[in-house]
Symmetry: C3
Amino acid sequence: MTITPSGIWKDIETIRQESPLVHNITNYVVMNTTANALLALGASPVMAHAQNEAADMVNIARALVINIGTLSDPWINAMFTAAARAKERDIPIVLDPVGAGATPYRTKTARDLIHAAFPAIIRGNGSEIMALCETTATTKGVDSGSASDLAIDAARKLNREFGAVICITGETDYIVSQDAMISIKNGHEMMPRVTGLGCTATALCGAFAAINPDFFMAAAHAMAVMGIAGEMAARTARGPASLQLNFIDTLYQLSETHIQALLRLGKA
Amino acid sequence: MTITPSGIWKDIETIRQESPLVHNITNYVVMNTTANALLALGASPVMAHAQNEAADMVNIARALVINIGTLSDPWINAMFTAAARAKERDIPIVLDPVGAGATPYRTKTARDLIHAAFPAIIRGNGSEIMALCETTATTKGVDSGSASDLAIDAARKLNREFGAVICITGETDYIVSQDAMISIKNGHEMMPRVTGLGCTATALCGAFAAINPDFFMAAAHAMAVMGIAGEMAARTARGPASLQLNFIDTLYQLSETHIQALLRLGKA
Amino acid sequence: MTITPSGIWKDIETIRQESPLVHNITNYVVMNTTANALLALGASPVMAHAQNEAADMVNIARALVINIGTLSDPWINAMFTAAARAKERDIPIVLDPVGAGATPYRTKTARDLIHAAFPAIIRGNGSEIMALCETTATTKGVDSGSASDLAIDAARKLNREFGAVICITGETDYIVSQDAMISIKNGHEMMPRVTGLGCTATALCGAFAAINPDFFMAAAHAMAVMGIAGEMAARTARGPASLQLNFIDTLYQLSETHIQALLRLGKA
């Protein structure tokens, strides 16, 4: 099970041909940019959050993306309703636990969603992934490894308990399951200065999971595309706004040649 | 009653001079881009959705745009309150029935709004317009014409029952009333890859209807401006994000010369 | 107490080094663009509005920005909760009374927030600032000065009663306290054609107030940066969308040399 340019490209071609409908219950900040990223990649995004239609919208979708970035009680109710219907229909759920660890409300909501929904993929930064893991040892006074080692440990525990593929994104992206790990070194240091590119990475996981039933490879392909498109976008960016613009345009233009030339994996 | 470059230009000049206030109760995804489109054209957008101020905001507006893209019960209540006040004040209401047909909640909300508000203009794609029409024959087993013929039939029925001018947008845009139809062939194939350009078309209908009491011509002028600006924007676009950026800049720069050179009408 | 390029630059360097967390309860239209402006400047934005976590989020923030642009009752409740916690923690509150004067709901909410929260800085246009001031004489039949004189009078009254530094933004920006006033003449006439640049000015006040305890200078520095970056952005803008893009990129690139070359003060 390895990631290859041709494997990534095959998934992109399928997304462009099939335009899978991806239902997003996501945050206000990134709705426009993640919808545009999904469209530029070739998927069909729908953004809808009302309890009254959550299940009906899931009925016509091929993946459900749940992002708790600007959560509130009515939205959380819709997330659980949509997730329950997605489980019944056996379509993949992708979870972005934005800000888990920052407030008890976020941490609890993210953990409750994992218990209820058993997401196919969870994507967050290292501290979010560690916050999800109820049994992670605190790092205080522990000299047992780097922050990313601790996050990878947390990811393995989450995978063991809930079966989700875990993406830990940062300077290097780690895609973690019980018995496999891929690390991807693409991307650009300016990307964290654009709001919501992490949320975009999560949304792209939804598009890939919609058409590739191997969720580990789907997540890895999504992270590779994020990093490569971000790198290409940064070449002519004069700042974060032109980076965001170039990023969407690059998703639209992306070719197999780009992926072959630029994919950079870390040591497994 | 024909559409001419000079008629379109006269309306644009009026919008630029009078900066009509257009009150939008619209979806989260497009709030920023539709506000910017209205500003670039020369109108004054306000986005406000609270039940507590819906009527007060309508009191200072010259048109009301209702878009159900990310609907929920509190917003629907505000839509009805705002619509009732708009009827009392006799200012035009423009409705975008986003996703009508996709879920019962959307279809019912859109139909209820039409029954209560009698919009001046309704803009949607063909399937949305057909979903609004309760008596439209299903297409199953019927070999009675193309999808756009069926949508135009639905538009005529809606116009007969509710009086609204109907815009059906797609590769060709159709503006339909009981006894007239204009078709406009401007636009670019990349436009559907930008989220919310349909919603922008609806918002522009609000600006034109605010200053032109002939709502059929107002709608046609809005569609012509959308298509022409989209075409101009696509010339130097490298993807959907630069298309969106160029589109807003083009609305700001649009001159009568551009319209004269580019307006392309279909057969009536 | 004067504004100097080196004073502005010192604050920018501090923001870039310390990346202060700025908690925003703001409107849907500008969430994306204000988050990006804060990131481009070097601050760390968080957007969160749930009553359930408002106090917890304030606990980890260094400034609170409250913007009533798309207000509704649940959001107002969170604004008061967050403001109360910010007062307890003694972190600065910045208020943007968007649309005060346009509807009673907005005027009342903005005034109630001022009474409850005693913001460090209030930023609005002249008519919003006048609407906040319950005792401002109406302008009807009064030939007692220009609109900006009346707004400055209102600002002085608000400062006397509530202690807030008041920014009145427009062609000239006025930063007003009881015994001092700075006026800044930077900016570009196209800026009002971009939705939410006023809200961005408010958000930047949050970043500067987070690291500079002299809120009068913090507000003046924020307004100077807005105007200078807007002016630089306009140089190559072809319309409002490229102006917005250039503006964010310029915030990211801004150097002391730019500020030295471009800062233009009015008469005090």
